[in-house]
């Protein structure tokens, strides 16, 4: 069981690429082009997702502006109908510092409830689901990513990629920084909290930092903060490792077009869609997947869909 969760199926020998008569368009008696166009790329999930993201952030704003008491606080820490929710990385930093200073004994039950609730919630919903469904920085960065892709396509700029392990350096680094300086250093530069507070309590000069990050992502490296730095996302990646909610890929419906990988926000999670790469008939995305649903919208063969692991057969 554990082996299934943590061992990537990537290390297995790949299956042979499908033969022509096994391809979905041949089975339906179409030529490849017609098959690809037979299912026009929709944006159902993107619409739902952006609506949820905007609605939740608006709910934060309206709760304060109109004194609704529905969702108080900000994304650093909040109260949903009086029920506390805590940002996991800010909780981790606080636990690290307060165990050093001894303040840990003063932390409230609400703090513990809030942290555990968030951990459980994102354990079931797939860690990085937070990113694409709630994070206001993600929303801006997703738009910035489109602009970046456009500029790369026009050959105005060059793409710079880094090693994905970099985020673990930052994750440990930010925790160590908090511990050694006795200060929530990351919270001073966390675009998630900064934007969330700006939406709710009004903007400040610190938004220039967020602006600088976006510019860097547009002109230098795609999704730099989200992919290589953000320790909140990394925390969610860790929580999401054993998560049951993922995207399910079925090889026999796949036409090897790799459109899904083109639109994917974390393309390395869809490594198995390319011709001759899949090692199993069915693959599930890993915990970097933000469950954004862009791949589901674009897939001509309906080879990708949301699933809850263990309930595959029932669904």
């Amino acid at each position: 069981m554990l082996k299934n969760i943590f061992n990537s199926s990537k290390n297995k020998p790949p299956l042979l690429a499908k033969k022509m008569e096994e391809m979905p368009h041949v089975k339906l008696g179409m030529d490849y082009k017609t098959w690809c166009d037979s299912q026009p790329a929709g944006d159902k999930w993107r619409k739902i997702r952006w609506s949820v993201l905007i609605f939740m952030n608006l709910l934060f704003f309206l709760s304060f502006a109109l004194d609704l008491s529905l969702l108080e606080g900000s994304l650093s820490g909040s109260r949903l109908f009086g029920f506390y929710l805590m940002d996991p990385f800010s909780s981790l930093q606080l636990l690290a510092i307060s165990s050093k200073t001894g303040y840990i004994v003063h932390l409230t039950t609400n703090f513990i409830i809030g942290t555990v609730t968030i951990l459980l919630f994102y354990f079931f919903l797939g860690g990085r689901t937070f990113c694409s469904w709630l994070c206001p920085y993600h929303f801006l960065a997703e738009l910035a990513e489109r602009l970046h892709d456009y500029l790369v396509k026009k050959k105005k700029i060059k793409e710079h990629k880094f090693h994905l392990g970099l985020r673990y350096v930052f994750w440990i680094g930010f925790l160590a920084l908090a511990f050694f300086t006795t200060n929530l250093v990351f919270e001073d530069m966390n675009p998630v909290g900064i934007i969330s507070r700006a939406i709710i309590y009004g903007p400040g000069m610190i938004l220039l930092w967020v602006f600088a990050l976006l510019i860097f992502e547009i002109v230098y490296s795609k999704r730099f903060w989200c992919r290589y730095v953000c320790p909140i996302g990394t925390t969610y990646t860790m929580i999401g490792k054993p998560s049951p909610l993922t995207i399910r890929f079925e090889l026999d419906k796949c036409g090897y077009c790799a459109d899904c990988q083109t639109v994917c926000l974390v393309p390395h999670e869809l490594w198995f869609v390319k011709r001759g790469k899949a090692t199993q008939e069915v693959h599930h995305t890993g915990s970097d997947c933000t469950n954004c649903g862009l791949c589901i919208d674009t897939c001509a063969g309906n080879a990708l869909k949301y699933t809850i692991k263990g309930f595959d057969k029932i669904l």
Binding site: S74, S76, S78, Y84, L94, E187, D188, W271
Partner: protein, 272 residues
């Protein structure tokens, strides 16, 4: 074949990792430097129940729940000009003081990390109720232990201490005050102590007429254990001076109502 992310070499990881480590270390040095230079700076006036600044600075996760729950919106979040205190709550008493009109110190109660520590107020309040039960009969007319609880809780607050600048104080100059204390355009609200107004009302709706200005004394939500107008007799000549006592909670209502510009009374935030 196109390279994918995971194929990027180990060497690049070591290089970028070292750059990341270096920049984090630089941030750490910067934070340490700011901490040193902030030591001599004026403290912000924290909301009721705040723990020592050294704990507050990391214990506050900048969620803003206290800001949202305050009925008079006395609490604001610090901007980036406060460097390391960015995003932490403070009370700008001159513009809107904490007038205790919530009667429950809910900013402290809502704080998830207890840097606004509600426990101390809870204990004090429970003791007051217990004392009331011992001294009063439940069948008594007007039996209500909660009034004493509310009073005991707000008297336990120690945000800071009011200090007088005598050179500009109207009372010290034996001057009176007539009119609206901070002008028509002032947005702050407060609740007149002693049941004058049941909840907080805008300060610009209150007109005063005093022979000797004593607004800081009469508007104080704590009363005569916190501030009194002291009569000084000197060779037959009389003069007055507001005198701050031990009961002062540092809520800042006196600062907000003070009609002189700039204010003749200010709050010295608690240092501990």
């Amino acid at each position: 074949m196109k390279k994918n992310n995971s194929d990027i070499s180990r060497r690049q990881f070591i290089v970028s990792g070292a750059v990341a480590f270096g920049s984090l270390a630089a941030v750490g040095v910067g934070v340490k430097y700011l901490q040193k230079s902030n030591d001599n700076e004026d403290l912000l006036l924290r909301p009721p129940g705040a723990v020592a600044e050294s704990d507050f600075i990391y214990g506050c996760i900048k969620c803003g729940l206290c800001v949202q729950i305050c009925p008079v919106q006395a609490i604001k979040l610090a901007g980036i000009n406060e460097t390391l205190s960015y995003g932490t709550p403070y009370v700008d008493a001159r513009n809107q003081a904490c007038d205790f009109s919530c009667d429950s110190l809910q900013c402290a109660e809502t704080c998830p990390t207890a840097v606004l520590n509600f426990k101390q107020f809870k204990v004090v309040g429970e003791k007051a109720i217990e004392k009331y039960y011992n001294e009063h009969d439940t069948k008594e007319e007007g039996f209500n232990p909660f009034k004493t609880q509310i009073i005991a809780m707000k008297e336990a607050v120690k945000m800071g201490v009011a200090k007088l600048k005598s050179e500009s104080c109207l009372a010290v100059k034996s001057e009176g005050f007539k009119g609206i204390s901070r002008g028509e355009g002032f947005k702050g609200v407060n609740r007149t102590p002693g049941g004058g107004t049941p909840s907080a009302v805008p300060l610009n709706t209150k007109e005063y007429d005093r022979e000797i200005c004593d607004l800081c004394v009469t508007e104080c939500p704590i009363g005569e254990s916190a501030i009194v107008l002291e009569l000084i007799e000197n060779n037959g000549s009389k003069s007055y001076k507001p005198k701050v006592l031990d009961g002062c909670t540092g809520c800042g209502v006196c600062v907000m109502v003070c009609p002189t510009e700039p204010t003749s009374i200010f709050i010295d935030p608690k240092k501990s």
